[in-house]
C-alpha cells in the first residue's frame, strides 16, 4: 500500500511538473526558443504572489492569480518584443545565451529585493486538507487541485492551439515565418503572444509551487530541470505528452524517495536519462 501511495502522490506531483513544462514546450514549439530563465520566471511569479498578498493582507494565494497571471503575461510580451525577438534566427545559440543571462539577472535581482530567506505562500487549511481514497492512500486536496489545474491548462492550450485564430497563427508562423508574413501575421507579435501565453501558465505554476514548498531566489534552476525533463520525456512540442512526462518524473521521484529518502531527485534524473537513451525523441514525439 505504501508503494501505491507513492505512485499516486507521484502522479499528482507530476501535474505541477507538467505546469512547469508546458510553458517551455509551448515556446519551443512555436519559435524554437529554449528559455533557460523559465524556472526563474516561475520563481518571479511566486514572489509577485507574495507581494500581492502583502498588499492585500491574508487571502487565499490562488486569488492572487487574478493579478499575477495578467502581469506575467504582460512581462512575457514585453520580454519577447524587447529582447528575445532580436535573438531569433537560424542559430539557436543566441536565444539560449540571452535567456541564460536573463536567468542570472532575475536571480540576483530577486536576491537584492527579497533577500535569500526562503518564503512560502500559506494557504491555511487547504495545505493539509485531504480525503482517503482507499485504506492507506490519502489524496491531498492541494495536490489534486494542482493536477486538475494542469489538465485544465493543457486542455485550454490545446483548444487555443487547434481551434482558434491565435493558435492557427502560432502554427503557421512556426511552419513558415516568411509565408506567414505574407498572410498578415507579424511574427514579432505572434511570438510575443506565445511568450505571453507561456508566462500566464508560468504564473499559475509559480503560485502553486509557492503554496506547495518553500522558495527562494535560487529555486528557479531546479524547477527548470524538472520542466525540461518532463518536456523531453513527453516528446518535444506535444502538450499531453508533457503531462505524461511530468507524471513520469513525479512518480520516479516519489517511488525513489520511498526506496530511500535520499534518492528522490536522483531517481527522477535517472529515469530521465533512461528515457533519453532509449527514446531520444520522447515517449510521444512532436505533433504540434
Amino acid at each position: 500500500m505504501e508503494w501505491i501511495n507513492a505512485i499516486v502522490q507521484g502522479v499528482l506531483l507530476g501535474g505541477l511538473y507538467a505546469m512547469f513544462a508546458t510553458g517551455l514546450s509551448l515556446i519551443f514549439g512555436v519559435m524554437r526558443l529554449v528559455n533557460i530563465a523559465h524556472g526563474d520566471l516561475i520563481v518571479l511569479a511566486a514572489y509577485l504572489g507574495l507581494v500581492v498578498l502583502e498588499v492585500t493582507g491574508p487571502l487565499n494565494p490562488l486569488a492572487t492569480l487574478a493579478l499575477v497571471v495578467p502581469v506575467m503575461a504582460l512581462i512575457g510580451y514585453v520580454l519577447q518584443r524587447g529582447i528575445f525577438n532580436f535573438t531569433l534566427g537560424k542559430d539557436i545559440l543566441p536565444p539560449l545565451l540571452v535567456s541564460f543571462g536573463l536567468s542570472i539577472i532575475l536571480q540576483n535581482s530577486l536576491l537584492e529585493i527579497f533577500t535569500a530567506d526562503s518564503r512560502r505562500l500559506t494557504a491555511g487549511a487547504l495545505e493539509v486538507a485531504s480525503f482517503p481514497m482507499v485504506e492507506g492512500v490519502d489524496i491531498g486536496v492541494l495536490p489534486l487541485m494542482m493536477f486538475l489545474t494542469a489538465m485544465g491548462v493543457i486542455a485550454l492550450l490545446q483548444f487555443v492551439f487547434y481551434r482558434t485564430a491565435m493558435g492557427r497563427a502560432f502554427r503557421a508562423t512556426s511552419d513558415d515565418p516568411e509565408v506567414a508574413r505574407m498572410m498578415g501575421l507579424n511574427n514579432r507579435h505572434v511570438f510575443a503572444l506565445a511568450m505571453a501565453l507561456s508566462m500566464a501558465v508560468v504564473a499559475v505554476a509559480g503560485i502553486f509551487l509557492a503554496m506547495r514548498t518553500n522558495f527562494d531566489p535560487a529555486s528557479g534552476p531546479a524547477r527548470l530541470i524538472f520542466g525540461f525533463e518532463a518536456v523531453i520525456i513527453g516528446g518535444l512540442g506535444n502538450l499531453w505528452g508533457t503531462l505524461a512526462g511530468g507524471v513520469v518524473v513525479g512518480v520516479a521521484q516519489t517511488v525513489g524517495a520511498q526506496i530511500n529518502p535520499g534518492w528522490q531527485q536522483l531517481a527522477g534524473h535517472v529515469v530521465f536519462l533512461i528515457v533519453l537513451a532509449v527514446r531520444p525523441r520522447g515517449l510521444f514525439p512532436r505533433i504540434l
Partner: protein, 234 residues
C-alpha cells in the same frame, strides 16, 4: 498598355555581395498576364520576392497603381492586393487544408473570392478540407497554394514555378484552370521554366538573364533562336 497596375524601374536585389537583380525595369498592365522566363539563377524568383515585400527594396523602385510600395512589408503588400503563389507551394504543414485557405483570407480584403468559391473552383479540396495540407498529392497541394493566394482577393497575382515537380497531366489541369483563377479584373505575373507553357497563356513575355531583362515581347513576335539566345545568353 495605357495604365500599368505594376511599374518596376531599376530594381536591384542583393544576397550578401551577390547582385541578383541588376536594375530590372518592367510594367504589367491592367488585366494583363505577363510571363517571366529565364534560366535557373536568372533572378525570376528573386524578382517576385521583391514585389511581394519579402525582400526590402528602394521605395520608389516598385509602383503599384502609381503608389510607391517598394519598401512596404509583406503583409502590407498583401493588403494592397498583391498575392504570391510561392515556389514549392510552401503550405503550412501543421494546418489543415481549410486552415491554410482561411489564413490566406485573414487580411480581410473584400472581393469575389471566398472559401465557398475556392471549393467550387477546386471541389476536391472541399472533400479533403480537414486533412493536413501537406498530406495531399502535389497537384492538390498546388491548388491549396493557389486558393490560399486567392483568398486575399488580389488584383495582382504572381505564380512562381507552379508546374515544378508535378506530373505533366497535373500541370495540364492546373494550367487549364488558370484562366478561371486570373479572371476579370486581375493581372498576373507567371514565372515558369517551361517556356511553351508560359507563352501559351501569357499576353506578353519578359526574359531574364543574370538579373537583367534580356528580351521582351509578345509570344510569336520573336523566333526560337532569339528567345534561346536571350534565355541562355549564347
Amino acid at each position: 498598355m495605357h495604365d500599368p497596375i505594376l511599374a518596376v524601374s531599376g530594381l536591384e536585389a542583393f544576397y550578401g555581395d551577390f547582385r541578383a537583380l541588376q536594375g530590372i525595369s518592367l510594367e504589367v498592365g491592367e488585366n494583363e498576364i505577363v510571363a517571366i522566363i529565364g534560366a535557373n539563377g536568372a533572378g525570376k524568383s528573386t524578382f517576385l520576392k521583391c514585389v511581394a515585400g519579402l525582400l526590402a527594396n528602394a521605395p520608389g523602385s516598385i509602383l503599384f497603381r502609381g503608389e510607391a510600395v517598394g519598401a512596404l512589408s509583406a503583409d502590407k503588400i498583401t493588403a494592397r492586393g498583391i498575392a504570391l503563389v510561392p515556389e514549392g507551394r510552401r503550405l503550412f504543414s501543421s494546418l489543415s487544408v481549410e486552415e491554410n485557405l482561411v489564413i490566406g483570407g485573414q487580411l480581410g480584403r473584400a472581393g469575389r473570392w471566398s472559401l465557398k468559391r475556392i471549393y467550387e473552383l477546386f471541389p476536391v479540396l472541399a472533400q479533403r478540407r480537414d486533412l493536413p495540407a501537406t498530406s495531399l498529392s502535389g497537384g492538390q497541394q498546388q491548388m491549396v497554394a493557389i486558393g490560399r493566394a486567392l483568398m486575399s482577393n488580389p488584383d495582382f497575382i504572381m505564380f512562381d514555378e507552379i508546374s515544378l515537380g508535378l506530373a505533366p497531366v497535373v500541370i495540364k489541369d492546373i494550367y487549364a484552370i488558370l484562366p478561371a483563377v486570373i479572371s476579370e479584373g486581375t493581372s498576373a505575373l507567371i514565372v515558369e521554366q517551361d517556356i511553351s507553357r508560359a507563352l501559351g497563356i501569357a499576353d506578353r513575355f519578359i526574359c531574364f538573364q543574370e538579373g537583367r531583362v534580356s528580351l521582351a515581347g509578345k509570344p510569336g513576335e520573336h523566333d526560337r533562336a532569339a528567345i534561346s539566345a536571350a534565355y541562355f545568353g549564347m
